[in-house]
């Protein structure tokens, strides 16, 4: 069994709100580890709309999603948070008391274990997971014939592969798997692709030389038995249908957000949101806080700026769990030399 990581706070989600919580906690000498299922910081800002301008961040007449994330990273740099990417928090277990909370937090991929005094859930809309197409009975084939990611290419050697989608993942895996596939078919809804132009060109030349097939349409149903796929029925725009023989199907429809394991942690939930009080943004479990888009309370607005405020107030209560013996002095960064020292800007 691997040793656990001891820290003050585990923040679940490294989006803008989770990142700013590092700042507010850092000012109070509270150390954080952040876990995110994405390979990078920024959450929705970086994954869904990095280039989109945001106009309602106080002090920024306009900032892009990625620009905001970059600035937050610079702002929290003095506090040296530790990031754990490509990991999803699988379990959250209480091992303390309501007065002195303590938690054991475990992630799925690498099985990292943390022990901490407070947990901040800043998970937005939940975990980014592959979008599953609504095809009847697709679940029966998942993990045996239907895969949403390629972990080991060798698994697909000499298989009849059907790849569905028109973005970078679909096109990259088309050109990478084609050489080892028995036959590869790419299916997309239209004859236009969002992927890198040279990859699209490579795919088109493979089609032209007869080394793979390209079809336009949508999967309408699957054929197979005992969790093993034998074919996919394709519907074209004109309503006609035909079958593509395949052993495996790889749908690449991008990512969506799902609440995931959070539902199993004994927290009260209201329509997939976590109710909190508006003084401390604490959940029904003392020591577990929820900030940003994932929480709900009367008057809640799903704005990034609300999440910043929520993190600041949560930090005040977390201080009492982390330093029960210390009295918290409220200070301003403009005037407090001790805060300025923490920020590395003291004169």
């Amino acid at each position: 069994m691997t040793d656990h990581i001891e820290t003050d706070v585990v923040i679940i989600g490294a989006g803008p709100v989770g990142l700013f919580a590092v700042f507010e906690l850092g000012l109070l000498d509270i150390k954080c580890h952040l876990v995110d299922i994405l390979p990078k910081v920024g959450g929705q800002c970086a994954e869904l709309y990095p280039e989109k301008p945001i106009y309602d961040i106080p002090g920024f007449p306009m900032v892009t999603g990625q620009g905001l994330v970059d600035n937050l990273m610079a702002q929290i740099d003095p506090f040296h948070p530790t990031f754990h990417f490509n990991e999803m928090v699988e379990s959250l277990e209480s091992i303390g008391t309501p007065e002195a909370p303590r938690f054991r937090v475990k992630t799925s991929e690498n099985g990292t274990t943390f022990e901490c005094k407070a947990v901040v859930i800043a998970a937005g809309g939940g975990s980014f997971l592959p979008k599953k197409p609504p095809i009847d009975n697709i679940e029966a084939y998942e993990g045996t014939s239907v895969f949403y990611a390629v972990r080991k290419m060798e698994m697909f050697r000499d298989k009849k592969i059907l790849i569905v989608g028109g973005g970078d993942s679909a096109l990259d895996w088309t050109v990478n798997l084609q050489p080892i596939a028995k036959r590869l078919t790419l299916l997309h809804r239209r004859d236009a692709f969002r992927a890198a132009p040279h990859t699209v060109e490579k795919m088109r030349s493979l089609v032209a030389s007869g080394d793979m097939d390209l079809h336009l349409g949508q999967v309408s149903s699957l054929k197979g038995e005992n969790h093993v796929l034998s074919g996919a029925v394709i519907r074209k725009d004109d309503g006609s249908e035909f079958t593509v023989d395949c052993d495996v199907m790889l749908p690449f429809f991008g990512l969506t957000m799902k609440l995931g394991p959070i539902a199993d942690w004994g927290l009260n939930l209201h329509e997939n949101l976590i109710p909190v009080d508006t003084e401390k943004f604490e959940t029904n479990v003392p020591g577990i806080f929820a900030i940003g888009d994932i929480n709900t309370y009367p008057g809640k607005l799903k704005l990034i700026l609300s999440g910043f405020h929520e993190g600041a107030l949560a930090a005040q209560k977390i201080h009492r769990y982390v330093y029960p013996e210390k009295k918290l002095l409220f200070q301003y960064t403009t005037s407090s030399s001790s805060l300025q020292k923490k920020l590395g800007v003291a004169a």
Partner: protein, 104 residues
């Protein structure tokens, strides 16, 4: 004032009062029908995917390239649109849409 008709995933048809200048996604969400609208109308997630009744298709502005890109991430029909990209105006009084199925 006017209305839109929305058929939910159980096949039930709802008549919703529409508001000029609102996106169809916002009207559907405001009335409490199950539409996710994850990205909030930024044309970045395709979770507001609807099928538009054929009779209405030509009355809508055609999809932008950005909307087409997002439609690539769901299982579409020829009458697929993202409801966050349809701004409701009185000309769309009586617009008929069906919520598209979502995967698990």
């Amino acid at each position: 004032m006017g209305v839109i008709h929305v058929t939910d995933r159980a096949g039930q048809r709802h008549t919703l009062e529409a508001i000029e200048g609102w996106r169809v996604m916002e009207i559907i969400r405001d009335w409490g029908l199950p539409i996710e609208g994850l990205c909030g109308g930024a044309c970045e997630c395709a979770t507001c995917h609807v099928f538009v009744d054929e009779a209405w298709l030509d009355k809508l502005y055609p999809p932008t390239e950005e909307e087409e890109d997002q439609l690539d991430t769901v299982v579409t029909k020829p009458n697929s649109r993202l409801s966050c990209q349809i701004l409701w105006t009185p000309e769309l009084d009586g617009l008929e849409v069906t919520l598209a199925p979502t995967g698990n």
